[in-house]
Symmetry: C2
Subunit: 141 residues, 2 copies
DNA sequence: TTGCATATTTGTAATGATTACATTTGTATT
DNA sequence: AATACAAATGTAATCATTACAAATATGCAA
């Protein structure tokens, strides 16, 4: 799953975003790493390649991505806004031990709460937390 | 649903928290209002009655409540940590129009994602957003 | 090609929520 | 009352995010 720069550019253009160097790099980071990073994590990594890269650009670009539905925000825990270029319906699991965030497929539509009968639902989010498989086997030794 | 000061005190004692005046007031606020407030909202309201009340006390007390499982954190949106004294399993809906947060009963255990087979799940959160009933009828009316 | 309009990026300062920490106040016990 | 301990307070520090103005890049007309 490593799309070429051309494919990334196409992706941006499809959402009416001009594919600047910075935007390509940021979206490339999101779609290849798939690690639900914070703005700071993206910056720390990309600034190695683009020393002039500003944190403001990271924030501006992510804001643009969110608005154009190219990415979405993940807020499992307070004080850390994370970003995900996978906008398909799926849940997130955060390991309290190692901090990793896992995706998982989930059929959210099964829930159908009666109490939200006449509500217009735009977004559905499912967040779990606990201890991941890796950390469990590590503990057991 | 307006518990007496005695009942609030009992509730605190049951969780091994000494029922100080401030703690009683903060817990009373949470259980009577049931509005998933931010720390600031709690402070703004209670400082009317307790002019000396410090924001630090709000934060310290809420932290204690979380640790003793007397309340839980709700993080629907970034940059606003909210608190809920209802620790039963239920989902939250936030209206993008009026900002209200609604509770809804939901049987989360139906989901059972295969991918989390050998994971230890400690917490499950379900957050929806959209437009609430009231705001829909307001728009139509 | 040059010059201009516009979009994008950058750097710095401001904001706002949360936390750290030292001081003060309250409570219980002797 | 004196002491010890817990809780509350006020202030300063931290940290993520945003605001804003200046610099840079891009696209196009002359
Ligand atoms: Mn994801
Ligand atoms: Mn609730
Ligand atoms: Zn783990
Ligand atoms: Zn509403």
């Amino acid at each position: 799953m490593t799309p070429s720069v051309e494919e990334i550019s196409e992706h941006l253009l499809k959402h009416n975003i001009k594919p600047s160097y910075q935007r390509i790099k940021i979206l490339e980071y999101l779609v290849t790493k798939r690690n639900h990073p914070t703005a700071d994590e993206i910056h720390k990594e990309l600034v190695k390649e683009i020393p002039s890269l500003s944190k403001t650009t990271i924030y501006n670009t992510l804001k643009t991505f969110i608005e154009t539905n190219l990415a979405r925000v993940i807020t499992i825990e307070e004080n850390e806004t994370r970003y995900d270029a996978d906008i398909s319906d799926h849940g997130h699991f955060k390991c309290d031990e190692c901090g990793s965030i896992y995706d998982f497929r989930v059929n959210i539509d099964i829930l159908e709460p009666d109490e939200l009968e006449s509500f217009k639902i735009n977004e559905k989010n499912v967040y779990y937390s606990g201890i991941c498989k890796k950390c469990i086997s590590k503990e057991e030794g």
